[in-house]
């Protein structure tokens, strides 16, 4: 009996030691490895799942349709972070060394994890793509060499929402004296837009109130009591996961007019409005260029992945808002690899080589057509100086059953954002003893 127990214990210990000993060295293969940090559980799971499905489906599609990138097969491994920073860091450490050339890029889909990885990525030479989230000042590629907040940051998002509001009021001058409230997730994610909104509030003379909601955001009674008391002209919603649905329910309960509510692009997907349905009619949200829909690239996924019963999620979820966003995120990573192969040869790329590719991306009209995203994304071009590439966005409105896209395109006002990015990046550089790169020099030398 005792012997058996001892043996059992010893076996368990050996198994534990073996499993924790880390990844074994792998034979060099013609493969490009993508770590996929996801959250399919927890309070943010409903929003994490479609993003993760889109991401993985796109990688699957590239393998099935093109046989990889120029013959280099794509491989990946998912790791559940549950939106927790420490688990995200563990996932990153677990996956960063896998594959013949290590991790290609990391995309954590969490501002908290992004902040933590911003410190680690430069040492490990792994680029960090944060499409539509992350550190706003990391758009400055001269300081943040490894960060790529492509397609927009929270500052551009906040800026564009204010533009949309002034358009609705009939000019920026009309915003004077109005009250705009920000209902935000009380974390780095929710706090990012505050600096921008404060700057705009000074510019236009509107009153700006901050209403924080604590994680995970299921308890918002106090917040909406304040909304009821202050009666702001507009409420901006900066939530994620269950917080969005709860906020909309509370808004309905408070009888706040939903057409005066504007969500960021992370508060404007199907899971957010599903529970509220008809009563959320009129709610507006920002769309990161494109919302829900099935275009050519999504059809390719259906054809090459779902028709072969290889889909990650359910077939009818392909083309949802967050699904598409996951897809674009994967596409940016894959195109980064493709671009770097033009420079370094058609073989698996290291993180450092992919970083060069990401910094020299150029999605012109022809490229958009080739990628099958015509009419979904606008041209994007990254440089050493500008790691964001594009800051266009549109508005969409929930009509009770589906998201309806507005026609107007907005571009963030770089006159306001550039100096703020410069200032914040310079502060970061000073704190971290980083000497900013001289982008003018790098661009002429061509590498």
């Amino acid at each position: 009996m005792n012997m058996r127990k001892t043996l059992l214990g010893a076996t368990a210990m050996v198994a534990l030691a073996a499993s924790l000993a880390g990844p074994l060295a792998q034979a060099a293969a013609n493969e490009q490895f993508f770590p996929v940090l996801v959250y399919r559980t927890g309070p943010y799971g409903p929003n994490g799942v479609p993003w993760a499905n889109g991401y993985v489906d796109y990688l699957k599609m590239i393998n099935a349709r093109d046989g990889g990138v120029n013959g280099v097969k794509l491989t990946w491994e998912e790791c559940e972070t549950a939106y927790a920073t420490d688990r995200g860091v563990e996932c990153y450490e677990r996956l960063k060394g896998k594959g013949p050339t290590g991790a290609t890029v990391v995309q954590p889909l969490s501002t908290g994890v992004t902040f933590a990885l911003t410190e680690k990525a430069p040492k490990d030479k792994i680029p960090l793509i944060t499409a539509g989230y992350g550190r706003s000042e990391s758009a400055d590629g001269a300081v943040f060499k490894w960060n790529f907040p492509m397609l927009g940051t929270y500052w551009t998002a906040a800026d564009i929402i204010v533009q949309a509001l002034s358009k609705r009021e009939g000019g920026a001058g009309k915003l004077k004296g109005k009250t705009i409230a920000l209902v935000y997730h009380d974390s780095p994610y929710g706090k990012e837009p505050i600096a921008m909104l404060e700057a705009r509030s000074k510019m236009h003379g509107f009153k700006f109130i901050k209403l924080p909601v604590t994680h995970p955001g299921v308890e918002q009674k106090a917040t909406w009591l304040q909304v009821r008391r202050e009666r702001p002209d507009y409420v901006l919603l900066w939530g994620w996961g269950v917080m969005n649905a709860t906020a909309l329910k509370e808004a309905v309960a408070t009888a706040y007019p939903l057409d005066r509510m504007y969500g960021v692009w992370w508060s404007g997907a199907e899971p957010d409005v599903k529970d509220v349905g008809e009563s959320a009619k009129g709610y507006n949200a920002l769309a990161m260029q494109y919302g829900a829909g099935v275009g050519k690239v999504q059809q390719d996924i259906l054809k090459y992945v779902y028709d072969k019963n290889n889909g990650t999620g359910a077939r009818d979820l392909v083309g949802q808002v967050l699904y598409n966003r996951g897809l674009y995120s994967a596409m940016l990573a894959v195109e980064g690899v493709r671009r770097s192969q033009e420079q370094y040869g058609k073989k698996p790329m290291t993180g450092e080589q992919v970083r060069w590719g990401l910094e020299n991306l150029n999605f012109n009209d022809a490229a958009l057509k080739r990628l099958g995203i015509e009419g979904q994304l606008r041209p994007l071009r990254t440089t050493c100086d500008d790691h964001m590439g594009s800051s266009w966005a549109r508005m969409q409105t929930w009509d009770g059953k589906k998201w309806v896209m507005h026609d107007a395109w907005y571009e963030a006002d770089m006159q306001i954002i550039k100096p703020m990015v410069r200032e914040a990046a310079a502060k970061y550089a000073k704190e971290h003893n980083i000497t900013p790169r001289d982008c003018a020099k790098e661009m002429t030398s061509g590498s």
Partner: protein, 354 residues
């Protein structure tokens, strides 16, 4: 046979008062330290050191600190996360605002500031005890969550409330590689664990334990409950504060107030309950259980060669972990430290039990 103190005569009081009176124990601890300081850094992969052992060591340190308060002095606290946060932000502010501040001194000062905070929030313990005190310490938790999120001065005016650790340097060594981080945390853990072990064997520790077992009796024999309880809060928060600073600086590198939320406090409480209340060794066991086991469970299926979806794996991880906690507490309510000492007692008689 192997583990028996026969023939080890103690001829001096000093011999009798050592931490490990049995020679085999001393050899064992020596071997463990040797493995931890030499073999593990040489053989361990970066992943093992950086992603598993560093968080394990830091949380083990915090668990030791909490054990001083809960296990030795009997004051239940749910505010551990808050004291970790105080240590972390205090050390951060010291390093950012006073250029040239050495890391070790910032850590110690951070610990001292956390000790002060601990004493302030420990004041209610003089009037209330047990579960009521636990609720009172919860106030510390919520207060720290709020204050670090809403007082910009404490986060050096960071627009998003998230701050980044400055460069870490000790005696000219930059602590950046996994091995250095591991060794740095291990050294601090070893020193503080030794300190605690000695404290609890001495006069102070006996005061704490007397207070824990029956505070009226303790005050009758001349132990001041005020001093006993507040000193336990201070020592505990000091260690917890240093652990918090390490967690922020060495492990996370960049953090937000949510990194020290109530989840962390509860996790640490579970660690010492599962590991064993009133035992330094138990804190280490408990930390290993809570930090390493979930990751092990998460990776188990892929090591067995089974394919499963990520969500299935993480649900399985949560369920198995919960079941194991329940089973453990049923099998040994006094924690893993008790199992350890039972095993040692059995080993004395092995292979010829009565």
């Amino acid at each position: 046979m192997l583990y028996r103190e026969n023939g080890q005569f103690k001829t001096r009081y000093v011999d009798d008062a050592q931490i490990f009176p049995i020679r085999q124990d001393r050899l064992f601890i020596g071997a463990v330290l040797l493995i931890a300081f030499v073999a593990v850094p040489l053989l361990g992969s970066d992943y093992l050191l950086r992603a598993l052992l560093v968080p394990f060591l830091i949380l083990a340190l915090a668990a030791i600190g909490l054990n001083v308060l809960v296990g030795y002095c009997g004051q239940i606290s749910l505010g551990t996360g808050a004291f970790m946060a105080v240590g972390a932000y205090a050390a951060f502010n010291l390093m950012v605002r006073l250029p040239g501040m050495p890391l070790l001194i910032a850590l110690v000062l951070g610990g001292l500031i956390a000790a002060l905070a601990g004493m302030v929030f420990g004041l209610p313990s003089l009037r209330i005890r047990g579960l009521y005190l636990a609720v009172a310490t919860l106030a510390a938790q919520f207060f720290s969550d709020w204050v670090f999120a809403h007082v910009p001065w404490l986060t050096n005016g960071s627009s998003s409330g998230s701050v980044t650790a400055p460069q870490l340097q000790v005696f000219g060594f930059v602590i950046d590689s996994p091995i250095r981080k591991y060794l740095f945390c291990l050294a601090i853990l070893s020193v503080l664990a030794l300190l605690v072990k000695n404290l609890v064997r001495g006069r102070k520790g006996r005061e704490w334990m007397a207070t824990r077992d029956m505070d009226v009796a303790a005050s009758v024999i001349g132990i001041s409950p005020v001093r006993a309880k507040l000193s336990a809060f201070a020592v505990s928060s000091f260690i917890v504060g240093i652990a918090g600073a390490l967690w922020a600086f060495v492990h996370l590198g960049s953090w937000e107030p949510a990194a020290f939320n109530i989840d962390l406090s509860l996790k640490l409480l579970f660690m010492i309950i599962i590991g064993g209340l009133g035992s330094v060794m138990g804190s280490l066991f408990g930390a290993a259980f809570i930090v390493l086991l979930p990751i092990f469970l998460n990776r188990l299926l892929s090591f067995l060669g089974l394919q499963a979806s990520t969500s299935f794996i993480s649900h399985l991880e949560l369920m198995t972990f919960g079941v194991l906690i329940v089973l453990f507490l049923i099998a040994e309510p006094h924690g893993m430290a008790k199992l350890w000492s039972t095993a040692k007692n059995k080993l004395r008689l092995w292979p010829f039990p009565h």
